[in-house]
């Protein structure tokens, strides 16, 4: 491998881990919100360096994992239409909807499903295929939402008539509130996702820290960042503090990215949204505001076409009538109430190749991380 950056330097990592072990005096439970952090912790083996008293609970910050089945069903329905080119980010293609089917299956059956790495690719595809309808299945948190907002803004400016948006963006703070409000909650502090804060800043987190008395540490994704975040979190807990602390100042500023936030506010407004495993969370999603709502798939295709799939996915949790019940415990995993390895299906009936739930699919899902990296 190439020379490790200073954020992966072994001596720094071991020094921070030693500090953490020295300072912790009691058992504490922290949640890393973002699935990217969960994966980085397991990929680098950082979990092996942590003191026994420190328990990490893996948070719901995996956009693929929390996207509602109904939305995936909609995407599949659209992708199956001959006039549609459906674009989305890679891992969304593997997640089963209310049936066991995925967008990859739809593609194999002839649907035009394309992987994009940026919404600007979607704009180019829409311009290159004026006779087709290009649908962007927009998922992700406040990290990817500004790029969707930019796409909407550009599409409207260009008068692009063949682009429609299936918006399933999530907002992180309402999910943190929901986790803390759950009666079984054991979370005593959070590592907030550094890249979300790069866009949104930290102001939204202060009322949560105050109201619930939990420290919230804005944390990056490299080994040194993660240990620094954990150390700052444990320090506050040991002292009985509950502040928002930015341990990722090289990428996140308190005010966030003003231009990105302004664009998001111009294009989107918060809406109640269903999170897979967590239920409907108040204000946790984003919907297009006028005039950008002209791009919404419902406006584009008419709301009625989705009737059947919405009813179907409202009925069950991955199991059609007559099928054996899905033993997947992803809801509890996403709330931090269970570990992936607690699931009876983990590694047996449920693997990344044949997933029963989204956390086993996604590059950021906790189940996939355990399956891949745990010896």
């Amino acid at each position: 491998m190439s020379r490790p950056s200073r954020f992966r330097r072994p001596e720094l990592v071991h020094q921070l881990a030693a500090e953490l072990r020295r300072e912790i005096t009691r058992p504490w439970t922290l949640m890393e919100i973002c699935g990217g952090q969960t994966h980085a912790i397991l990929r680098h083996g950082l979990d092996q360096l942590l003191p026994e008293q420190l328990e990490l609970i893996h948070g719901p910050g995996c956009p693929v994992c929390i996207t509602a089945e109904a939305a995936i069903d909609r995407a599949q329905e659209l992708a199956g239409r001959p006039e549609v080119i459906l674009c989305s980010y890679g891992d969304m293609l593997r997640v089963p909807g209310s049936s066991a089917r995925t967008l990859l299956d739809v593609r194999a059956a002839g649907g035009d499903v394309r992987i994009v790495t940026s919404p600007s690719d979607v704009l180019a595809i829409a311009q290159a295929h004026p006779a087709r309808t290009v649908v962007f299945f927009a998922v992700g948190f406040e990290t990817t939402a500004p790029a969707t907002a930019l796409l909407a803004h550009q599409a409207l400016g260009l008068g692009l008539g063949n682009l429609a948006l299936l918006v399933c963006h999530g907002r992180v703070p309402p999910a943190m509130e929901a986790i803390l409000a759950a009666p079984e909650c054991r979370v005593q502090g959070f590592l907030a996702a550094g890249h979300v804060c790069t866009v949104m800043g930290v102001e939204e987190y202060r009322p949560i820290a105050q109201r619930h008395g939990v420290p919230i540490v804005v944390t990056g994704f490299e080994p040194v960042d993660l240990l620094e975040g954990l150390l700052q979190g444990v320090r506050q807990l040991e002292r009985g503090e509950s502040r928002v602390f930015n341990a990722y100042p090289r990428a996140s500023q308190d005010a966030g990215n003003g231009a990105a936030r302004a664009l998001m506010e111009r294009v989107f407004t918060p809406v109640d949204q269903h999170w897979r495993g967590l239920g409907v969370l108040s204000g946790s999603g984003l919907q297009l505001r006028p005039p950008y709502d002209a791009l919404d798939v419902e406006r584009h295709f008419g709301a009625s076409m989705f009737g059947a799939s919405m009813a179907r996915s409202a009925a069950g949790n991955g199991s059609a009538p007559g099928e054996p019940a899905n033993p997947c415990i992803s809801g509890r995993v996403l709330q931090g109430l269970a570990r992936p390895s607690d699931c009876p299906a983990f590694g047996g009936h449920c693997t990344p190749e044949r997933p029963l739930g989204a956390p086993m699919v996604s590059a950021e899902g906790a189940c996939a991380a355990y399956h891949r990296y745990r010896a």
Binding site: M1, R43, H44, Q48, T117, D121, G140, E353
Partner: protein
């Protein structure tokens, strides 16, 4: 009477038509004008099968199909890939290729000059490996039913050593070496498809592996297992060999050679360089006391060749750059860039 015959497009400047695979005059013309000049036989007289001289001793036999998109990529094309890929499969049992078959499945509408380029590339690649293309076939499918060209090659190789090279020969304590830095082909192909979202100067590592393997054999090394690292990369190869051997491996992240451009591209897209495809790299298992000698041989061909770990225990483990051990994950089939 010639003036009343249906005009045939000259092979040099037209495109492939369904008739080129139909067995009639167009087929004949394709064979006479493109295939025989490229591959023989010297007297131009074709027959249903090639007859090869028999020799004492074991033979190796392998086949592979090539469906790469795009047909031409930085560092190679589907033609050179179809030759080197099959020659490399033979090399992995220590065999030298003595004959190749070449089966072309062409899509109607393929520009004839592209076919000519691919055939020229096949000829040059086969010459470089010193192996003749002795038999072949051409079919044409309707437009839209193929990606321009699909190629199947099969190869026969001579085995001149007495070793049983393969996973079963792997022993606990064996050293594990790679013949060069990893992941270039996978990243180069993604870049050539413009799926990376950024440009790179990276070239595929596509190369014949016969020479380094011959050099290892000539150095009298006890080769336990060789595996070319194609789809699935090092991660898949280590898992397969481990399963076949019934033994675990431990490789050190710091020791595995990855070019900075490959590392950066994978890091940005959330892809695992250890699961990225290669087309000119292999992994070698041999007794630990021979590792230094083997490494010196490999580095004559690729200075980035490295000793990366050893055979031990039962699990396939990676020692991370922090000195911690975790399971080495298998690639997931299709490389999908991550979301955020």
């Amino acid at each position: 009477m010639d003036s009343f015959a249906c005009p045939l497009p000259p092979a040099g400047d037209a495109m492939v038509l369904l008739g080129h695979g139909g067995g009639g005059s167009l087929s004949q013309r394709l064979i006479d004008q493109l295939l025989v000049p490229a591959f023989g036989p010297a007297d131009g007289v074709l027959h249903d099968a090639a007859v090869l001289p028999a020799e004492a001793g074991p033979l190796a036999f392998t086949t592979d199909s090539y469906v790469v998109r795009p047909l031409f990529f930085p560092g190679g094309d589907i033609g050179s890939l179809a030759v080197f890929g099959t020659v490399n499969d033979l090399a992995m049992v220590g065999a030298s290729a003595i004959a190749l078959s070449l089966s072309l499945i062409l899509e109607e509408g393929l520009p004839m000059h592209l076919l000519q380029q691919v055939l020229a590339s096949i000829r040059i690649a086969a010459q470089r490996c010193g192996v003749p293309v002795v038999t072949g076939d051409t079919k044409v499918v309707e437009r839209g039913k193929g990606d321009g060209i699909y190629i199947n090659t099969a190869g026969i190789g001579r085995v001149d050593h007495g070793m049983q090279i393969g996973p079963k020969a792997v022993r606990s304590g064996d050293a594990i070496l790679v013949s060069g830095d990893l992941g270039r082909h996978g990243v180069a192909i993604l870049a050539a498809r413009q799926e990376l979202g950024f440009r790179t100067e990276l070239h595929s590592d596509l190369a014949p592996l016969q020479e380094p393997v011959r050099a290892l054999l000539a150095a009298d090394l006890e080769l336990h297992c060789l595996r070319d690292l194609t789809r699935g990369g090092l991660a898949s190869a280590l898992h397969e060999i481990s399963r076949g051997a019934g033994l675990g491996v431990l490789v050190r992240e710091n020791a595995i050679p990855i070019a900075p451009e490959v590392d950066a591209a994978c890091e940005l897209l959330g892809l695992d360089p250890l699961a990225m495809a290669n087309e000119g790299r292999f992994v070698l298992f041999l007794p630990a006391h021979q590792a230094d000698r083997a490494l010196a041989v490999l580095q004559r061909f690729q200075p980035s060749a490295a000793s990366i770990g050893c055979v031990r225990g039962e699990a396939v483990l990676l020692e991370t750059s922090l000195g911690l051990q975790r399971r080495l994950e298998l690639g997931r089939g299709e490389s999908l860039p991550r979301i955020c």
